[in-house]
Symmetry: C2
Subunit: 447 residues, 2 copies
């Protein structure tokens, strides 16, 4: 134990709303990672951080301490600016699977380390693993090998990446200290900075299906993330995007892969393609392959139209052990054993979809985890037949449910039926992308 | 685990500033006492309580839950209203040793369970144990036997009394969650209510030598304590008293016993006697042996003048195994091996004494504990030769230090010298007792 710092004094300082020294935060994270500080002191500290906040310097120090608790990948041998994208999580948010091949096809290396589904939200790793044979587990040598070969790698978080974040996250989960903007920002950025990136695009979701329920909170989180990125001299741009209804029409692991395949064939739903091209266009711009985001978006669209993105997708699936035939002929994928229908009980317009409830229903049906140890069912999920603003008649199908758990159908149906609101008049259109957060204002453009 | 309550939801509720149900607090304390909830969840809860507070009902529920985590002593077989006094702790605060025999001699049973020294403050148990042979450890049968025989018992906290408070207190100590008014109030009151009392007088200290540094905070704590007492239908009166200089002239375990013996012989310092008679007079009034506090104070003075208090003191020392000869001839007590002098370095008036620093110096010298496991030295301590307002000349002695640890002298001397301020002009007099907190306003009187 470093005698210069006293953990009780550090907790007290944050408790009293004072600003911690960088060295105090480093000491706490280092000693916690070394098992020299017990959980019960760190959880009191986390609650004090939750309630009294962390300023930009403290957030940066926390991020840096967690980042350096493990390996920081050096990708300097890979030429080009490495760019990744991170989403704060939503329902039906499958964008990574579409934009990563687009950006890699455009010549920008994408070293992507993703997570698993959490609560009501899906996870990129679970979606990838629904492809038979696809593996996301690899050591850092293999990680570098794949990105060197394809400008793309789709990996899971290894034990070497930010182990302090892993421990802190598990503790936050059981002490009601998850929903803290600086703690979320530090957790995300410590993992992303450890990947070896040069620039980062962030998709901060706001709405019923997001962790940030209000646009205001999403902006705060976006600013915290961009602030940390900037302090670490990584170009970082964040978008606040709408998560008041699921993205696209499909929710569930394989179902979402299917929708991504359609998207790579140029047949993606409008909402998905709008955000995908914005994010991938921004990545292409930050990767130095376009002069501005607008040009990046044009390049992104070309990567779809030319088939280059889909070819990149086939290459990476093959490289990481996935069944390429299934990607070429997704209709061969086995279907879930049970399906059920949710129908409208009146005429009108679909006016609200509670994405949180829809996400939780998909978890009930097997598409997500209730406990960390649970397996996910790649076949389970939901296909929406209507989205917000669509006209609907009594008896018409709103959505279909797919599951291998017949015992879950009743509760999931109730949840799904309750998640949808039908109104007499057509709701106003909402913008998919509401805010850009960019420290370098010159890159801002009309949405 | 009671499935109706979820500990993470309870933490979240308090984190978000909501009011907890009584059953939620009961659940948390019950499960924690049963080892069904880990420390790391309770410490996050405690920090949320620290920062967001607890209202009167929540404080009462916390107190009740801790109270009922162990035995609540039934003293109904002892006739008369049982009255105790509790001080929030100060430096040189030896009042319990004087007032307990006074009140018992006046016919009011005093079932007193005390604590040990904490931080810079002394503890009644340590003072009592400086009397050779005196024991404070006893089971509840013996506790009842002694009070039945003498109207007085001076005991230590047993494992049967409020075990939840004991665990929570230890956790607060290492998680920077000690100085919370509702948590302090719950801790004090759960122990006091478990003793079997009918009424309680509280001495809430304010100032440099107290845990509450400001009168404002002391009033808040007093109100919280009286609020809880009232909810449990125990008559409770609190006084806020000044702790900007040590009480009396002697600090240290046996030194304080000596000063108490002087006081019981009618030779106590003015400040000690003023507060002692106020507190014991109030106890005598609440015990039904006086019509008002003023009359109680007169009776208290008579108990000293008649020698009845000193006789009660001799009886209880003998009953609890102490060496009565040492009480009769305190000059026989062995002296500490080393003494040192702190002298004035200029002429003037003694204007400030930082009691916290004086208390910490006495801890250095052996009179208190740095860690819970430390032994205390009964001989170590300080004798003040001057107090605030006294005229002093350069070279004159301010205080004497006594210790058996020669290695501690230098640091303790520096601390003591630094704790004293000499000014050119005489400081204004301050009131010893600044506030009365009494729900039944009719008992209030001019101080």
């Amino acid at each position: 134990m470093d005698s210069k710092y006293n953990i009780v004094s550090i907790i007290r300082k944050k408790r009293d709303g004072q600003t911690l020294e960088k060295e105090e935060i480093q000491h706490l994270i280092r000693e916690y990672t070394a098992d020299a500080i017990p959980d019960y002191q760190v959880s009191a500290f986390l609650m004090a951080c939750f309630l009294n906040g962390l300023n930009d310097e403290e957030s940066a120090a926390l991020t840096e301490s967690m980042l350096h608790s493990g390996t920081v990948v050096d990708l300097s041998e890979i030429s080009g600016k490495k760019v990744d994208k991170h989403s704060t999580g939503g329902v039906g948010d499958k964008l990574s699977l579409i934009l990563a091949p687009i950006v890699a096809a455009a010549g920008v290396p994408v070293p992507m380390i993703s997570g698993r589904g959490l609560g009501h939200t899906g996870g990129t790793l679970d979606k990838l693993e629904s492809i038979p044979g696809f593996t996301v587990d690899m050591n850092l040598d293999r990680y570098k090998e794949i990105i060197g070969k394809h400008n793309l790698v789709l990996a899971g978080q290894t034990a070497e990446i930010a182990p302090a974040d892993k421990r802190l996250y598990a503790l936050r989960d059981v002490t009601a200290t998850v929903e803290s903007i600086p703690l979320i920002a530090g957790s995300i950025m410590s993992k992303k900075l450890a990947e070896g990136i040069d620039a980062l695009v962030l998709d901060v979701k706001a709405g019923s299906g997001a962790f940030m329920k209000t646009t205001e909170d999403a902006i705060k989180l976006g600013e915290a993330l961009v602030g940390i990125g900037t302090q670490f001299e990584k170009e970082t741009i964040a978008y606040v995007t709408n998560m008041n209804q699921p993205l696209g029409y499909k929710i569930g692991n394989w179902l979402e892969v299917e929708e991504c395949i359609d998207a790579m064939h140029g047949e993606g739903p409008d909402d998905i393609m709008e955000i995908t091209h914005l994010l991938s266009g921004t990545m292409i711009y930050l990767g130095g392959k376009a002069d501005n985001v607008k040009e990046g978006i044009e390049i992104s669209k070309k990567m779809i139209a030319s088939g280059a993105a889909f070819q990149k997708w086939l290459d990476i699936v093959e490289e990481q052990g996935g069944d390429v035939e299934m990607i070429k002929s997704p209709n061969k994928y086995p279907k879930a054993e049970y399906e059920f229908v949710i129908k409208a009980d009146c005429d009108g317009y679909l006016s609200e979809m509670n994405s949180y409830e829809i996400g939780m229903a998909s978890v009930e049906m097997g598409a997500g985890r209730k406990k960390k140890e649970d397996d996910v069912d790649p076949q389970a999920g939901i296909i929406l037949k209507k989205k917000i603003g669509d006209k609907i008649s009594k008896g018409e199908t709103i959505l279909m449910g797919y599951t291998n758990k017949p015992s879950a159908i009743e509760a999931a149906s109730d949840k799904l039926f309750g998640a949808v609101t039908i109104a007499e008049s057509k709701p106003d259109d909402t913008h998919l992308v509401s805010h850009i957060i960019d420290k370098d204002g010159s890159r801002a453009f009309e949405l």
